[in-house]
Symmetry: D2
Subunit: 342 residues, 4 copies
């Protein structure tokens, strides 16, 4: 059987998370997210984010988190701005539009929005009320390309949003990977301070499932639980999410797992670089995009599974390799050896 | 601390389910519900339902299952008929309407719809196109009142639906409890044969989370996965649902757990009956609704937690007691003793 | 050919309205509702309603006005309360639900809501966030039954709404008929003062088409034009609506037409009463509901068209007769004669 | 006062249309679009389109027609493909998305889609079910740029749609102008044969308001009236639309008006060309886009109103001039004189 570097959700969860589920299994708790585990996990997040006034809600997946937040925050005539590479624009089967909202997408290098991009969208929508009112900006960190926002970049975007009456929403499916990346200068507290709402991904960083939506802007906090329920995101056994996040966050496990994942990816990146192989995108988190010849791809595919990202020309394509907390180091070494022989 | 009889989702999951999660934890699988566990669990359901052509999709909760199925099956001008006690009408924060569809609700004794009820709704909607076109009937089994449909009753409803171009959809949050109830004469195969689509609940019967949507009508099978994704119901680690259902269904565990839950409720029912206490609804599944004096309720509330169902008069109210696979028999015995002293 | 008393939109418009359309036909104006006619008509309404801060938007029909107002005012988790006889609940093909909002309907005598009805709905929705948050009350005046609200009744409902954080919305498809009805003590200024938003119907009172939405609550005024456009309600030649309302309101034509319609209905009512015939609902506007024997109905149907409202028993049914500004007095006289011979 | 060339809906309607409204004003008819005028107008359209099986519905505006058709034809997981210049993508305040559907927009020269464009969108959506299923193609003829589809071009698009299970929908706000344009080789019968559904615009070609939706594909005809009502598009006095379309189509008035409008635009085009002035888009219908120096624009703006279309560089911009059936020839002559003096 081949070894998969296809994504960061190929395995179950970190053993400590399973142990926590086992340990708490018979304790009786109230349902629907008001159990003690959720409360403690929420408190841990607020504390680590240095944002005691933030409100935390746990849901089961990323598309769910995105559609729920956007639908809860926007009125019918308001739209959300995103990069054309944004997950909500490319890979969520129209989940946002299904709640009635248009995404105003704009091409952005490295998957990262700047004030200039946002300004461009606003300028293209002057013919009010025949066009939508832009009211939110959606960014991902790490982005879908594996790149990250610096503190200055995020500050610039946030300030621009505040000057233009826009909410800033960060998709944090891989926020852990971003925050521990080499060269990163953002902290979780910065993220809480520089966004109106963001979510901290569990699914791709050690949990069986679960994302923590963190609402920093008090205006957006009101009545949020109604939306969680209405969109089918309120688990009867909400404890399942609380237990996992408490375990991941009661020490530094969450960040340790993300760091481990990044390190494995960087080992692979180094191995490709050592062979003079170039990358479609220069990344420092847990995904890399080497550009290989078709022959090289076929060769690697004999032992490893990965995503064919995009064709570069007739003879070459970029592939995507992803690592996670669960990537066995012997598998990384096996792949590094194989790369050495390309 | 009090002992809770408040609902059937107060604890985690059956130990065998946890063991299965532990056992499979490091196996690499594809994401988004196309893993081997989901495939095997789906096959087990089809087999037990004697319905090889049915298609199975796993989602994380009941409201999600309901809104997803209804939104996938109906066109914008079509509505769904339900009892006024139906979960979609009372306790889902407008999740169905949020997808654009009206519920035509009608009062029904024991929470059960008959052809006469459905006919009444159809007759009240003759002024087409100024009224909606009814296209689906939603029933729950066991109902929200703890009652169940007999084979004759379900057959009558199904035949009426087919004669009137209506889909029949069964919410099976507690289908296990219904199918093993004393006096029940329905099988899972009957349910598959006599509905267009139903779901088999995991959350309330041994799983951490998860419901299995079973689509029997081929017309409704097409493109269903798009809807699962669009409504935020497709877990990246879909395996989490497949593993649980496979474990619950690879032998009779699922039904054994439901039977155990019913038995505990019936013990409590007997204890109340022995004291001459009456019930708001005569149930044979895992929930009972004894009518107690306020003094009796206060007395029980010292040691036990339960739901105050509804006020009967100034001196009496009905309470709801629910049991599950996790209800410890010593807790039942403790409550039986307490009932004996009322 | 038979003479129709079937509804109040069987003919075109009042001749003065046509003349105004002819007179203004070649004048160039800006599109989309910002023309001078709309501005003047809006000013006339604000003036007659003694409500200079109100904002007026003209749309083409009643269902459009209702769905637009409700969708613009409510957030996804908010619902609207209405009588089960409310037009939005019975005869709009799920238009409100299609925008994502549930109608919490309650049976109300004479089609009129009281604080007690609204309280009853609120009390049934305590289990938050598993139920919707009620945020608006919808009433019609005249009601769908032809009854009207007194000043005291409307004041009571409005005060209750304000105490309970509910918007009050009045459907005024037949508001003219209500305001000039015998025994009415409400003025247009009262309506503006005692609602958050209402609309003044043109279609059923002299216009070819058109309803004027009047928003009194400043919070609901913001961005409303976006919603008008988004729901397809912004006519390119918005002037068509402005011209008609200006003509109807520049003197008392609008109210004169409504008064005439009511008077014709009351003549018919008197004729039935003189024969000792009873009514299904005691009305004082432009619709009456006499209860006739099947033989009597058949007899009248030979020369007149009307709505069979509902079966009372095997031998009797209520019919509905509606008059309008266009009901020719000779037709009324002909019907009165026929009634005399029943 | 300045003379407006700003749009083709600055005046009322053609005098014959007003006369028809006057002539029929007192005739009693049933409401909601089932009157005799609508029936006759529908029959005239079917006849002129040589498409007896087509079904016709009259609505009041273009955005309404577009959102209604798209929402009626698509399921929740299906999307519509359009040019980035398409009216539904640029100028309808998210009306389509508000019904839950995403528009997959693609840049297209001259505002016209080809099979290559559509293929490109399909190819970018292979990752099913994580992306939407494209199910409809939206085109405009004349386009928003004033260009038209040739018979060959429309045939190619239609055939591609049929091979790829896509509905073809044509927005015909200015279909009259397209069909009588110089060099046009399409007939109304071709349009009916080569689309699944289209609409024939009244608002911009002689009517006060009104567009005729023509459904050619029998699958899309079913239940359409429900959607018309649900989206607020069914006028109580539907006759208003039927009367106008009957008058415009009972002889060649509709096409004569469009031809007149085109001719006036072409006179202006010639005048600009005679001065060596270039155009942003080379059009043959009723809109032209000359590129003028800022000084020239200021000069013309003293006597004429028009749309500043887009800045070309620091010294030049394109403006848009539109003519209609109502454009007085003396106004055209006045503008031609002014152009001669630029």
């Amino acid at each position: 059987m081949t070894i998969s570097f296809k994504n960061d959700y190929s395995e179950g969860c970190h053993p400590r998370v399973l142990e926590a589920l086992v340990r708490t299994n018979r304790v009786q708790q109230d349902g629907y997210g008001v159990d003690e585990y959720c409360q403690r996990a929420a408190a841990l997040i607020s504390e680590k984010a240095n944002s005691p006034a933030s409100k935390v809600h746990f849901v089961s997946g990323g598309t769910q988190a995105n559609m729920l937040v956007i639908a809860a925050c926007l009125k019918p005539h308001e739209s959300v701005i995103a990069a054309t590479t944004g997950h909500i624009y490319t890979n969520e089967t129209g989940a946002i539009e299904a709640t009635g909202h248009k995404i105003n997408a704009i091409e952005a290098s490295f998957g990262k929005l700047t004030p200039a991009h946002i300004r461009q969208v606003l300028d293209a929508h002057m013919n009010k009320p025949h066009v939508l009112k832009q009211r939110m900006v959606y960014i991902s960190n790490a982005t879908e390309m594996g790149t990250i926002y610096s503190k200055q970049e995020l500050t610039d975007v946030y300030n621009f949003c505040k000057e233009n009456d826009l909410y800033l929403f960060m998709d944090g499916a891989r926020l852990g990977n971003a925050l521990v990346a080499k060269d990163n200068d953002l902290t979780l507290a910065d993220v809480a301070r520089l966004t109106d709402v963001f979510w901290l991904g569990g699914t791709k960083n050690g949990a069986l499932l679960g994302e923590a939506i963190v609402i920093n802007n008090p205006i957006l906090q009101e009545d949020f639980a109604f939306h969680v329920k209405q969109r089918g995101a309120m688990l009867a056994k909400g404890r399942v999410l609380g237990i996992q996040f408490e375990e991941l966050l009661r020490d530094d496990l969450y960040f340790d797992l993300a760091r481990y994942a990044n390190e494995q990816a960087m080992k692979l990146k180094q191995a490709f670089s050592d062979k003079g192989i170039l990358f479609w995108e220069d990344t420092i988190t847990n995904q890399i995009f080497p550009i290989l010849s078709n022959t090289q791809i076929e060769h690697l595919a004999q032992k490893f599974t990965f995503h064919h990202w995009r064709k570069i020309n007739e003879t070459h394509s970029a592939i995507r390799l992803i690592t996670s907390w669960a990537t066995a180091s012997e598998n990384v070494e096996a792949l590094v050896r194989e790369i050495g022989q390309l």
